[in-house]
């Protein structure tokens, strides 16, 4: 028995039509933007595959890709095959997946913690992962080199993932006492961050030159380790996490009304927080373990999307994922082609690229996208 009777008669038909039109406008704009962004992502991916230091013609690039898909034959230039399939393509796909994971996690965390300045790194993920990598690089290497190069690499990855997740877990435990309040989560994360940062600095100090160089390079972030094995591991994790987060889109929308209203609407706020933060951290942690700490994308990607698509999480989360992928892809392609063959660390490019664009949007767009 509803509060309002079923519509009949003349009364609100006109307004119903108006509301329905308003809603369709609301939705169709966002869907269109999503599609455009998807096309843009694909276009950038394709373009990036054809760009690089080794001058490989577009035709060869196309032939390599098609031949691996089962169509056509390889070009005679076998350099093309190695470069495109073994080096460029995994790198591009890794950049896409990383961008998706970071920006998607960032959007969700901002919504759940109701704080526009939050990113996956806020709860200590970056310091924890840095600490893990430092431990692996500074203390773990020096055992054997050579044949065990592979082991040391997985050592770094697992360490970074473990410590990155550990910091988040610690922040969770701290916040539990305060009913998972957002402020406690953020502050707890910051406090733990500082602790692990100190650890990283200490390890940097006692390390020898080679370890130090390796650690510094790792910390700057980059897609050195892109290969099909990594992708096979990361892609399902990230995609599943993002899908899981998209399922909570409506709850996140409602959470924007305030915790009390959300609770009275029947949403279990604490459970929602734990669920979303776990998935977001899992995805971000997994990618950070492989790529190092690439900043900026996770904070600004979602905000750019908010300005263009609004706060409806049903569209915001997928858009952020795609926007992050595009940003990171562009940054990576620039990073490895601008002063080839020297590669600029990706994090620098993302900051240089994104910051002015962000400022431009802030100035131009009148719609306030917070409060």
């Amino acid at each position: 028995m509803g509060l309002f009777p079923k519509m009949s008669g003349t009364l609100p038909e006109a307004s119903f039509a108006a509301i329905r039109a308003a809603y369709s406008r609301h939705v169709s704009r966002k869907v269109l933007f999503l599609i455009v962004l998807l096309c843009l992502t694909v276009a950038v991916m394709v373009a990036s595959t054809a760009m690089g230091v080794a001058g490989i013609s577009v035709g060869d690039v196309g032939r390599v890709i098609l031949s691996h898909l089962g169509v056509g034959i390889l070009p005679e230039n076998d350099l093309a095959e190695t470069v495109v399939w073994q080096i460029r393509l995994p790198r591009i796909l890794l950049a896409t997946i990383t961008g998706m994971s970071l920006a998607g996690a960032g959007a969700v965390m901002q919504g759940v913690l109701r704080n526009p300045l939050v990113s996956p790194y806020t709860m200590g993920l970056s310091s924890g992962a840095a600490f893990g990598a430092a431990v692996a690089i500074v203390l773990g290497t020096g055992l054997v080199g050579g044949n065990y190069v592979d082991v040391s690499r997985w050592l770094i990855v697992t360490n970074a993932f473990f410590f990155g997740s550990l910091t988040t877990l610690l922040a969770f435990s701290l916040a539990r006492f305060k009913g998972m309040a957002p402020e406690t989560l953020v502050l707890g994360g910051v406090a733990i961050s500082y602790l692990f940062q100190a650890g990283v600095s200490l390890l940097k100090y006692v390390s020898n030159n080679e370890a130090l160089k390796e650690l510094v390079v790792w910390l700057m972030g980059g897609f050195w380790g892109a290969d099909w094995q990594t992708l096979a591991l990361l892609t399902p994790v990230v995609l599943l996490c993002m899908a899981g987060l998209c399922l909570c889109a409506w709850d996140l929308n409602v959470l924007g009304a305030g915790e009390e209203v959300a609770a009275s609407l029947g949403i279990k706020v604490v459970r929602l927080r734990v669920y979303t933060l776990t998935l977001a951290t899992l995805a971000a942690s997994a990618t950070v373990a492989f790529t190092g700490i690439i900043g900026f994308v996770c904070l600004v990607g979602p905000h750019i999307c908010r300005m263009l698509v609004g706060n409806d999480h049903r569209f915001l989360i997928p858009c952020s994922c795609l926007m992050g992928a595009v940003l990171l892809l562009l940054a990576d392609t620039l990073a490895r082609t601008i002063i080839a063959p020297t590669e600029i660390p990706v994090g620098i490019i993302t900051a240089l690229m994104g910051s002015p664009f962000f400022v431009y949007l802030l100035i131009k767009k009148k719609r306030q996208w917070w409060g």
């Binding site: 009777p5 008669g9 609100p12 409506w250 409602v254 305030g258 009390e260 949403i267 409060g371």
Partner: protein
């Protein structure tokens, strides 16, 4: 006579179950819906100079499943649908005077089978009725026809029952042994000084806080047994004004949030229907695409109420709904939620800080003092100078006027530190 005749549109409040409950008045100017819940009844006037009951107005809905409109019989004349001229006014009502200027009591003569639960004190919604019967003039009063009829129609049924609620913030007790009942169609006002536990009580009802002991029953069912989104279908909570959202949203998006208990992923037609009606009910249809942050606080408050309405809840809980509103919005919002209670037997519980509004609009009041119920009952019973002295610590003058119980605080109670200005004012009045 009549001050400006306006055409009224009609629509039917039929539930589609074959039993037409009556006609609804739709006033184009105030964009509000007023339901007459009874199928057929007459308003008669009786008094000096009038020999027999004169039918002043009656509402008759045609038989049949689908009601498309009705007619109003005034006097002996039956006027066709759409021709009733009533000047709308939410807070007006009518009294009758005969030609000599004597008050004529307006008596309701319900049709057979409809029992009057209490004697109605006054009559019809708003304005002047054009009368067929000579010599009868209707004036304004402020009770609504609706309520009387509604009381006539239904039996008093307890819907919300709170038993022995205890709640503490940490070790500080906030609520102790709170027990009360709310009937269907009633608006309960919770009043009390700051810190007496009003908001806490409301939040316990809204399942935001978990009480230490005690149970809340809705239609006999323990609220705690409600699972997940069921809570949202039963309880509509409107937060106190003043909280800022972290991220902005449009009015449409905000009201859609209220549909969460019914949504899975996509927004269905039914959802949009409810949203339209909620917006229309509150007069917000034009503002649907505006950003919430751009609206005045009065309009924002209405949006939040619309959101709660979109949940189609059984119980509506409002925390200080009129706290930051100007007097016009105060009246609008209070009359609105009053009407929400009477229609369909909903329960409305509102925390009110303004005693005059409480006295005017609430059916029953709950006076809280330091987490315990100090007094409960109608406004006349609760808002007495003794109670106010004991709870608020003020000397107050309580008057009963055409607009219900009015409280004027005169001075702090003896034994308390005097406030200079107040003493002077009191002395000035003599």
């Amino acid at each position: 006579m009549g001050r400006g005749k306006k055409q009224l549109d009609w629509s039917c409040a039929c539930e589609g179950n074959g039993r037409c409950l009556g006609a609804a008045f739709w006033s184009p100017r105030s964009r509000s819906l007023a339901y007459a819940a009874v199928r057929k009844l007459k308003v008669t006037a009786k008094g000096p100079g009038i020999e027999e009951s004169v039918t002043v107005a009656s509402v008759q809905a045609p038989a049949g499943r689908v009601c498309r409109g009705g007619t109003v019989r005034i006097g002996a004349q039956e006027q066709a649908a759409g021709a009733l001229t009533i000047q709308e006014n939410l807070v007006g009502a009518l009294r009758a005077r005969d030609a000599a200027g004597n008050r004529a009591a307006l008596k309701l003569a319900p049709p057979a089978g409809v029992r009057l639960a209490r004697e109605p004190t006054a009559a019809v919604t708003a304005g002047d009725l054009e009368l067929g019967a000579p010599g009868i003039r209707l004036e304004e009063d402020d009770r609504t026809l609706l309520r009387c009829y509604y009381h006539a129609r239904r039996e008093r049924k307890v819907r919300l029952q709170v038993k022995d609620l205890h709640f503490s913030y940490g070790s500080v007790p906030a609520l102790e042994g709170v027990t009360f009942k709310v009937n269907a169609g009633e608006m309960l006002g919770i009043v009390g000084p700051n810190g007496s536990g009003k908001s806490t009580l409301l939040r316990c009802l809204a399942r935001i806080l978990k009480p230490r002991t005690g149970t809340v029953y809705l239609d006999g069912r323990n609220l705690r047994t409600l699972r997940g989104l069921e809570v949202g279908r039963c309880l509509g909570y409107v937060p106190p004004p003043g909280a800022r959202a972290a991220f902005s949203a449009t009015v449409l998006e905000t009201v859609l949030q209220g549909r969460r208990p019914y949504l899975i992923w996509g927004v269905e037609r039914r959802d949009l229907e409810v949203v339209t009606q909620a917006l229309g009910y509150l007069g917000l249809t034009e503002l649907a695409e505006r950003l919430l942050g751009e609206l005045s606080s009065g309009q924002q408050q209405k949006v939040f109420i619309a959101r709660a309405l979109a949940q189609e809840p059984e119980v509506l809980l409002l925390d200080e709904p009129t706290a930051t509103l100007d007097i016009r919005y105060q009246l609008e919002v209070m009359a609105l939620i009053r009407r929400l209670a009477t229609e369909k037997g909903r329960v409305v519980v509102a925390v009110l800080h303004d005693l005059n509004l409480a006295g005017r609009f609430a059916d029953r009041l709950l006076l809280l003092h330091q987490g315990k119920i100090f007094a409960a009952g109608t406004a006349k019973v609760v808002l007495t100078p003794e109670n106010l002295r004991a709870v608020y610590g003020v000397e107050a003058v309580v008057t009963e006027g055409p607009w219900g119980v009015q409280v004027t605080a005169v001075a702090p109670a003896a034994g308390l530190r005097a406030v200079e200005g107040a003493a002077v004012c009191a002395a000035g009045r003599g």
